[in-house]
Amino acid sequence: MTGSLHIGFIPLIDAAALIVAVDKGFTAAEGLDVTLVREVSWSNVRDKLNIGLFDAAHLLAPVAIASSLGLGHVKVPIVAPFNLGLNGNAITVSPVLHAAIMREIDGDPLDPMATALSLARVVAARRRSGAEPLTFGMTFPFSTHNYQLRFWMAAGGVDPDEDVHLVVLPPPYMVDSLANGQVDAFCVGAPWNSIAVDRGVGFILHFVSDILVRAAEKVLAVRQSWSEKNPQVLAALIRAAFRATEFIEHNRAETAHILAQPERVGVDADIIRRTLDGRLKVAPDGTIRESGRYLLVGREGAARPDPVQAAWLYAQMVRWGQATISPEAVEIAKAVFRPDLHDAVLGFQQKPTPGASNLVEAFAGPAFDADDVAGYLASLGIVRRPS
């Protein structure tokens, strides 16, 4: 068994399981010699995983699916045997947009339907007055952030391609872009929302857990061919990552300290701690909001990949014109998420909390049916046809 691995990651809090697995020696205890490589773009992570410079990667779940389907890039089958994180993103808006949404809102500001309907009124008013369309930042075309923003605003009647601008921004540029008015809002993972609030340039409008109860976010991704050639190495890596998730649950202060190191995530330990605790400052005046579901790393069965989640992500790609629908593609997408590989190593002892369905539960729209993606899409209002 080759035990020397290169693993790419983007400096985000949901890389925690990989970073802790290495820095606490859990990978070494499994006989693995892991070099973590900090990367600056998802494109780099994807390419280096695809061509074999990385053995494994911290990857956006939709990128793993897009890569397996050959969407937007070279087709390389990827498998995800372990979720590094569920949820963890938030929608942050500028103080000006926040005020506008709160002026128009009819209902609870924590209710995504109320904010989405309010956003629709803000957008309509801007159009009437001849103002520029609002611009929303997200991290990558094949990203949860892109789909979560679109899902939310479309539920309120805002067409994300016609009524606003959606632009890709690398996470480290998000806060500055919000501060200088290049974007009016963004959807990004931790720690960037908290940094915007701390700097007084943004309000956290929603945790994505308001929009979807359990959203697959980052996965531990490996090439399918690699997983078949190195089953024992993969099993060892899964065990180490799982041990790390347990460590993170019980040692948040130390985890925050480990992640704060400059060669890891490199931000203030206090912000990391707030993220792990799901206790976020949501407004520059110091208002705190707590949610046990803000970011799930390991707990509540979060590490076990759910093919229904993969099907949901594929449905979003079809909904927004990134993919054409086919029954084969649905199956390929579902097969990227590998609960069987997870269970073979860890068993199925990690039951989701009672009441929290493993299926996709969203705040709006028809119930998602992974066995009838076409029917689900047909029942949605705003969709984009591939041109």
Partner: protein, 196 residues
């Protein structure tokens, strides 16, 4: 369009020196339509405005993810753009990623027209990192020499040695301990600081 004459090439690189080295190479090879972008602010708008046939971007640049938007079906895109490296080009993509550069081209530009551009790009990027390495090495050699000189001074003073004897002592210790002379010299400086 430029495809049959000289393709319009955009270099996206925040390192002005490397971008200049690459541009010079491209011009020498007869590619005259080269534009450099070093400012990442409204990058996509600039690119749409320039309407290039080829885009070269360094892999250290987080803005690479911004370029991935060009593949999306969107009214902002004026013509389809595809990643140069298709399924059959594993060797090219490996070489370019190793060199630290990535290329995007518009759909339809012939592969044989792209190959010399990418090859040149790879060799210039490799040359640049070699230059960078040499510069770093020269810097650390200079640092080492300063450290060794100071360690020699300490040995001369403490042990009453000549300069040459002090150097011989450093060198023989380094050989015995399988370390660099600079490392031994540094430990002498550290020890003398501690014992002050």
């Amino acid at each position: 369009m430029g495809a049959e004459s000289s393709p319009k090439i955009v270099i996206v690189d925040e390192s002005p020196i490397r971008a200049a080295i690459l541009e010079e190479g491209l011009r020498e090879a007869g590619f005259t339509g080269v534009v450099r972008i070093g400012e990442m602010h409204s990058l996509l708008a600039r690119i749409y405005e320039l309407d290039p046939d080829v885009i070269l971007i360094d892999l250290e640049n987080p803005s690479r993810d911004i370029l991935e938007q060009m593949f999306q079906v969107s009214r902002a895109v004026r013509r389809p753009i595809a990643m140069f490296v298709d399924q059959s080009d594993a060797a090219s993509i490996q070489a370019s990623v190793d060199a630290g550069v990535s290329a995007y081209i518009v759909d339809g530009l012939k592969k044989e027209r792209i190959k010399p551009i990418l090859d040149l790009c790879i060799s210039r990027f490799n040359a640049f990192s070699k230059l960078q390495d040499e510069l770093d090495r020269a810097k650390s050699a200079l640092e080492d020499r300063k450290v060794i000189d100071r360690a020699k001074g300490i040995l001369m003073k403490l042990k009453g040695l000549t300069e040459e004897e002090a150097y011989v002592l450093l060198r023989s210790t380094a050989m015995r301990e399988k370390k660099k002379i600079g490392e031994i010299a540094q430990s002498i400086l550290t020890a003398s600081e501690l014992l002050k």
